[in-house]
Amino acid sequence: METDLNSQDRKDLDKFIKFFALKTVQAIVQARLGEKICTRSSSSPTGSDWFNLAIKDIPEVTHEAKKALAGQLPAVGRSMCVEISLKTSEGDSMELEIWCLEMNEKCDKEIKVSYTVYNRLSLLLKSLLAITRVTPAYRLSRKQGHEYVILYRIYFGEVQLNGLGEGFQTVRVGTVGTPVGTVTLSCAYRINLAFMSTRQFERTPPIMGIIIDHFVDRPYPSSSPTHPCNYRTAGEDTGVTYPSVEDSQEVCTTSFSTSPPSQCVFTVTKAHFQTPTPVVTDTLRVPMAGLAFSHQLSSSRLSYQPAALGVGSADLAYPVVFAAGLTTTHPHQLMVPGKEGGVPLAPNQPALGAQADQERLATYTPSDGAHCAATPSSSEDTETVSNSSEGRASPHDVLETIFVRKVGAFVNKPINQVTLTSLDIPFAMFAPKNLELEDADPMVNPPDSPETESPLQGSLHSDGSSGGSSGNTHDDFVMIDFKPAFSKDDILPMDLGTFYREFQNPPQLSSLSIDIGAQSMAEDLDSLPEKLAVHEKNVREFDAFVETLQ
């Protein structure tokens, strides 16, 4: 509806809204890149800092936003939406948030465009910066890396909230009234982060406690593809060059007036540049491809605990096991997390490829999947592993499993074990390929220490021979033949591997065994009065000692 807005104000307002939309997208995507953002303040205004805020322009993101807008502006019924989703290395994805820039019909005719609206849009952008750090997706995005990545998608039109699961929450970032309508910025975010892949659980009943959030296809096939929240410098990988900031963005030089409103001065100069038409070759990019320059991939690996095991954060339950990851330099290479226990190995393709329904070599039962999860440096590690061993599948089921464990590059397995030849992993020839039961894994179930003599005594008599023979009496303990590199010692007859084997199972400390512990506690309690009496006698000495400390 046309108001009595003069044409200059109208033009300015349209420009403000357009650049506000672009900056909003930049702020959101940059907040999901996975690392801390830092921009410098500058006391001298520069031409490209719209709204007096230093928000960098990633050319690819600007390009995508402009493509989605297609020359239009947010209006009633036409919202600009940025969808943030998570995609695992196995191709499963989940929408995390939808940020909406909407316009409604409520107009504020009295407001000054070039002054108040501009400043309020600036304030709204600051609020957006603050809010993007407090939604749950922020912490997820900071930990993205090998197991999953965060993707963004920009679309224009009606807001689609179906993918957020039940009970999603909304937060309003803010509103700015303008003479043509009220700009509203809000975010709807998923709170039910329990996530189940249909492939993972199709053959087994669900483990208790997992919240099933059916993975359904998008009701609205997305017209715009998703993109990783990764920053590449222009022209690296696919030969696509995006116009840089200076080329495509209008320069904003604003000056404000302290004079009465009728004399407001506002100038926007347009820098004319040749903008080459970008050639977009493949819009659905495999997130890990060509990321040699990406600095967003974090090296940390996040693996999740199944909700059933009751470990991990009570608030966010992630029952998916993120198995394989990709290295940055070899997108087709798979890096198996070197955790205790086995992990299923995905086939020799980028695990995050677009073809999510590829045939996979590895299938695994939930129990195996369960014990794969091990939170780094968490005291719950051993708990999880021991919990899962109780719920493990029967040997029969496990025989159907192709199960690979990475125990180190220098470990040889006996020849009579199955080898998987079609894997392209580093040091593949060294990787053990076996069908061991999970409870045969010495890492999971360390064998009980021998009850007789101390292992030290035993080891001095053993010949430290390597080979398939077991060093103790337990049948399910498989001796791993260590041949550690650089560990030969000329002085002693044993090498590092032998040393490790022999001292691997020390006897339990007597004070830690329960009955002995209980006894000693009783003895301690009995002897307390005597000890107290002795201490009281020596109280002067103690006091003197304390004096020396002060």
């Binding site: 801390k36 953002i37 830092c38 921009t39 410098r40 303040s41 500058s42 006391s43 001298s44 205004p45 520069t46 800092d49 007096n52 805020l53 230093a54 002054y115 309020r120 304030l123 709204l124 600051k126 609020s127 910066l129 603050a130 809010i131 750090r133 407090v134 939604t135 922020y138 912490r139 900071r142 937060v171 309003r172 970032v173 803010g174 509103t175 700015v176 030089t253 604003t254 000056s255 404000f256 007036s257 302290t258 004079s259 004399q263 001065v265 954060s313 608030d315």
Partner: protein, 218 residues
């Protein structure tokens, strides 16, 4: 004109006090700072650019955004450090509060000193809890992080009500509205004070700290 007053309450562990306070104060100041004004002829002015940076907390699962200004950060850290020390040394219940007050100066004739008229006051009440086990501390990290997220959302909500803000001043008046002493940003004139309180909210040890970049104090 009435002074707008907002109160926030947080319960934190001792070592989280500083970061929680800084998160809240920086978030408020992010919204209440502009770029440096550069006045030109004919009463026009241009505004510098405000940069931002993310700050990860060490003792809380939380990240906040602050203005990229080392001077401002130092000033806040100083007063928050004093507050933390006062809390610690007070013994008591571990209750205290900090106030961030935005004000305007109104010139008065000599010999009267300038009047400071507050237009917005943010009060953050802190309750320090003592935790016994590492597991409790870990849970506290997460819970306090979530609580701070809620506080940030509350702050943003207030900010976006677009209620009273001082009029943009002329060059001669700018020091009555803004703190122009910083090199790279220009927050509204503010002062921070704190009190250690007992359970009833009365001031047991009143410790006032004034943090004013005031060039005209008599």
């Amino acid at each position: 004109m009435n002074c707008r007053s907002e109160v926030l309450e947080v319960s934190v562990e001792g070592r989280q006090v500083e970061e929680a306070m800084l998160a809240v104060l920086h978030t408020v100041l992010l919204h209440r700072s502009t770029g440096k004004f550069h006045y030109k002829k004919e009463g026009t002015y241009s505004i510098g650019t405000v940069g931002t940076q993310d700050v990860d907390c060490d003792f809380i699962d939380f990240t906040y955004v602050r203005v990229s200004s080392e001077e401002l950060d130092r000033a806040l850290r100083k007063v928050v450090g004093e507050f933390k020390d006062a809390l610690r040394s007070s013994g008591g219940d571990g209750l205290g509060q900090m106030s961030l007050e935005f004000y305007q100066k109104k010139k008065s004739r000599w010999p009267f000193s300038d009047e400071c008229i507050p237009w917005e006051v943010w009060t953050v009440k802190v309750h320090v809890v003592a935790l016994a086990t590492e597991q409790e501390r870990q849970i506290c990290r997460e819970k306090v992080g979530e609580k701070l997220c809620e506080k940030i959302i509350s702050i943003v909500e207030v900010m976006n009500r677009h209620e009273y803000l001082p009029k943009m001043p002329t060059q001669s008046e700018v020091d009555n509205v803004f703190d122009t002493g910083l090199r790279d940003v220009q927050p509204y004139l503010y002062k921070i004070s704190f009190q250690i309180t007992d359970a009833l909210g009365t001031s047991v040890t009143t410790t006032m700290r004034r943090l004013i970049k005031d060039t005209l104090a008599l």
